[in-house]
Amino acid sequence: MDWRERVAAEGSRGDRTGHFEREFYRGIYLIRRLEETLLELFAAGRLSGTTHTCLGQEANAVAVAFHLTDADVVVSNHRCHGHYLARTGDLEGLLAEIRGLERGLCSGKGGSQHLCAPNFYTNGIQGGIVPLATGMALAEKQRGSGAIVTVFIGDGTLGQGVVYESFNIAALWAAPLLVVVEANGWAQSTPTPRAMAGSMRQRLEAFGLPCGMVEGTDALEIHRAAGAAVGQVRETGRPAGLIIRTQRLGPHSKGDDSRSPEELETLRERDPLPRLAASLDPEQRRAIEAECERRLAAALTATEGPL
């Protein structure tokens, strides 16, 4: 049962007090612990290759996924674990793929940043997924499926020209496409102000994509903004954008963080996770965390294997 179903099930039992917040927290916490665990495994030499964790950005994935139907399509980037888990809840398939196992999502051929599952695709090239998602959205429209396509990019990706060609085509041909920009302020090691001129929002609006914006770090605020953005694309059948000012708390990849401790501390203050945790009943929160830890431990055990 994924977390959307849990929300629905719990809601139908009449115990609605805080149930949404709890399930939202469960979704975020599970991603957080997976990402932390991956970095630990790398540090211990128990994973090979590379990874890009979404520590601090988990709420964006969970918020958007909540508003999507099973028929909707998600296209993501190199930093994709959170999007995948929020969408599918398939911890074991993801771990198996990252660990290079035959029963991974792509039998180990894709690895951390090249995932594929029904209605879910990721690739490790910056920007290339945006025209791809545009084409997918046009296909869904032609088929009359009613599905929308959501593509996740970062603010660093806004440096790629093909992104703007795609915005233009998506608008011209009315593709039901939602572009979610997770603006974490960094393109690998380069701060966004050194990589981007002008207004991020206007870059989308210039092509006629109405663009929502979330400045805060309240998970529920992100949730509401995601709902509005998804609803807009669904209702109009046309592309729209959502920029989420977010924070990457971990390194770009594994051990390559050149930011100062003070800077990281500032970013940690913006982390939606502790804020959401504080709003929950402590006992219920601990129960959620314990359950996530059990799931993670079970998935780790089930995917033990060669590096």
């Binding site: 399509v73 999502l105 792509c106 039998s107 051929k109 894709g110 090249h114 594929c116 599952a117 695709y121 690739n123 490790g124 090239i125 290339g128 997924i129 945006v130 025209p131 791809l132 998602a133 545009t134 084409g135 997918m136 959205a137 046009l138 296909a139 869904e140 032609q142 088929r143 020209g161 093909v162 060609e165 795609s166 233009n168 085509i169 011209l172 041909w173």
Partner: protein, 338 residues
């Protein structure tokens, strides 16, 4: 047969649009009354207004949009106006389109055709005249087809569109106005004619039962190789076999190997530049498989490693000519070192 190659391609596109609802054509200036820069889509936007889309000048995105359409069950045929412009979309080709099927462990297919004209001899100059197929043949996961007037272009293009995997379909510009040249009862003019029965067959034109050189070529060079074969037969009493490939990658050299074993000499003729050319790969494979059959070194005919000038006399000096093929064949027939 009196069908021009352009009409054969147009008819194939029309048939695909008619037969398969998921087919759609994308590209710059495809819509009527223009009908594409080389008029290959003429009439189609009128007949299929929702499925023939004139696009912005955005090749990079068009490759990606086409890939997205293909991944979600459409059957897009993308026209890139000049083959020179494929460079704008190579990220999509290399890191997306050609990778998806294997990278995603067979969970997806990418039924996408990219049609594009290549080749010179029209004075279009350095950026509108190139044969860039060598950039494509080394990409795993990609099928590269280059038809000629000797192939049934209608059938060839329809097969590419029916394929569930990505196909680059290269059309030499000079083909468009030429008539299809198809053999009948084992003959085409003075030549013995043979065509394999595979989806993308190799056509063989043999000047006689017993020939002394095998020339392998494709696309626009087939026309020159045939002229060379006629000259060699008439002026030098040297008989050659011309093998015209239609699929460059993955390449099936079975007919060529059989030919080399008959003739003992190999010439590869391509219009692209020499260094790192498709011919180098063919020569490497043939010498590996049939080294003991070769009387002398394989020879390559190709464009000089230079830009293609706009002025026609300068262009002629860069691009391979009929005489280059006849010279290479005479040297190969003699089995001499140079």
């Amino acid at each position: 047969m009196s069908t021009r190659c352009a009409a054969a391609l147009n008819a194939a596109l029309a048939e695909a649009l008619e037969r398969w609802d998921e087919t759609l054509l994308l590209g710059e200036d495809l819509a009527d009354p223009y009908g594409g820069a080389f008029r290959i889509t003429r009439g189609l936007s009128t007949r299929f207004p929702d499925r023939v889309l004139s696009s912005p000048i955005s090749e990079a995105a068009l490759f990606g949009v086409s890939a997205g359409l293909a991944l979600r069950g459409r059957r897009p045929v993308l026209e890139i106006m000049f083959g020179d412009f494929i460079t704008l979309g190579l990220d999509q080709v290399i890191n997306h389109i050609a990778k998806f099927r294997e990278m995603y462990d067979e969970q997806v297919r990418v039924p996408l055709v990219v049609r594009t004209p290549m080749g010179g001899r029209r004075g279009y100059g350095p950026t509108h005249s190139q044969c860039l197929e060598k950039l494509l043949v080394g990409i795993p996961g990609l099928t590269v087809v280059a038809g000629s007037e000797y192939h049934d272009l209608h059938r060839l293009l329809l097969a590419a569109i029916a394929s569930d995997d990505p196909v680059f379909f290269i059309e030499n510009k000079l083909l468009y106005s030429r008539f299809q040249q198809r053999g009948r009862d084992g003959r085409l003019g003075p030549f013995l004619w043979e065509e394999g029965d595979s989806t993308y067959p190799t056509v063989q034109l043999r000047a006689a039962d017993r020939c002394s050189v095998s020339v392998v070529t494709w696309g626009g060079m087939a026309h020159l190789a045939r002229q060379a074969a006629e000259q060699l037969a008439i002026e030098h009493e040297t008989m050659i076999e011309v093998l015209i490939l239609s699929r460059l990658a993955p390449v099936d050299l079975t007919p060529l190997l059989a030919s080399v074993r008959r003739t003992g000499a190999l010439v590869v003729a391509e219009e692209g530049t020499l260094t790192g050319g498709v011919g180098a790969e063919i020569v490497a494979r043939v010498q590996h498989e049939a080294f003991s059959s070769l009387r002398g070194p394989a020879r390559r005919v190709a464009a000089r490693d230079a830009v293609i000038p706009a002025a026609r006399h300068l262009e002629d000096a860069v691009l391979p000519q009929v005489e280059d093929i006849t010279d290479a064949c005479l040297a190969a027939a003699a089995g001499t070192e140079h």
